[in-house]
């Protein structure tokens, strides 16, 4: 029960951040593939940097354990990503 409620709150923060970054808008997403607006990349890379530093700092201090990391299966990740990119550039989401 706690986990479900907590997930809802995490989702709230997630949706809030994405909306504020303008990522709910078609042109923001598609323009990253046209190299006219790199907001999506700036946003993603900032998230990566912040979450990476924070999580590993807490882990090194022994406060938290790392979760299961998304598995690598090259062909699947690659083909999935290729299909995903077509959808992302078309739909703009």
């Amino acid at each position: 029960m706690f986990e479900m409620l907590f997930a809802l709150i995490i989702g709230f923060g997630f949706g809030f951040a994405l909306q504020k970054a303008g990522l709910g808008k078609y042109h923001k997403i598609v323009n990253v593939f046209r190299f006219t607006d790199l907001a999506v990349l700036k946003f993603m890379m900032t998230t990566l940097a912040v979450s990476m530093v924070g999580t590993f700092a807490l882990n090194s201090l022994g406060i938290i354990a790392l979760p299961a990391i998304p598995p690598t299966y090259v062909v699947g990740n690659l083909i999935g990503g290729l299909i995903f990119g077509v959808g992302m550039a078309g739909a703009g989401f």
């Binding site: 970054a21 808008k25 998230t47 912040v50 807490l58 990391i69 990740n77 995903f84 992302m88």
Partner: protein
């Protein structure tokens, strides 16, 4: 503070920092890597169970993405609420059938065109995310933050196909 919450758009660095903190809290408190695409698969499994149970018994739904109201579904629900509150606070919220000015300028205001591309694009997005093991949030960021190779293969592939797709759609307007 209120003024900041009412802004229509934040710098991507500020919004990215907020999302980064959300990831840290989520992992620290519950060990969950937030993602968006998995929820659709959980819900899809539920629908399959209801209308065609045999389909829900395949390996994918049994072992990879079990049907059900999971934490991923709750995150998805939270995303809707969070984005809605954010848009309402800034007065950015509007109900429109073709919402994007750039789309209208380039492809016209025809509703069917936008909705068809959205629908087909949505299928590809979810299908691709299913094969790759996640989407931009769960795999690219959630894996990238642990330097998982899968995340960077995925990001590269996403651009390899996304760039020509955008080019083919825009042609001279690219």
């Amino acid at each position: 503070m209120m003024k900041l919450l009412q802004q229509k758009e934040w710098s991507p660095y500020l919004a990215g920092t907020l999302l980064g903190l959300v990831y840290i809290v989520s992992i620290a408190v519950a060990g969950i890597i937030p993602g968006a695409s998995g929820a659709f698969e959980n819900i899809g499994g539920l629908i399959a169970q209801a209308i065609y149970p045999d389909l829900a018994k395949n390996t994918y739904f049994q072992f990879v993405m079990p049907p059900g109201i999971t934490t991923a579904v709750m995150i998805l629900l939270g995303i809707f609420i969070g984005a809605f509150v954010s848009a309402k606070l800034s007065g950015d919220f509007k109900l429109q059938v073709v919402s994007d000015p750039q789309w209208k300028r380039v492809f016209g205001a025809a509703v069917w065109k936008r909705w068809l591309v959205l629908f087909l694009g949505g299928i590809l997005l979810e299908f691709g995310a299913g094969i790759a093991g996640g989407c931009t949030s769960g795999l690219a960021i959630g894996g990238g933050m642990f330097l998982a190779p899968s995340a960077f293969i995925f990001i590269a592939a996403m651009f390899i196909s996304g760039i020509p797709t955008a080019w083919l759609m825009y042609r001279r307007k690219y």
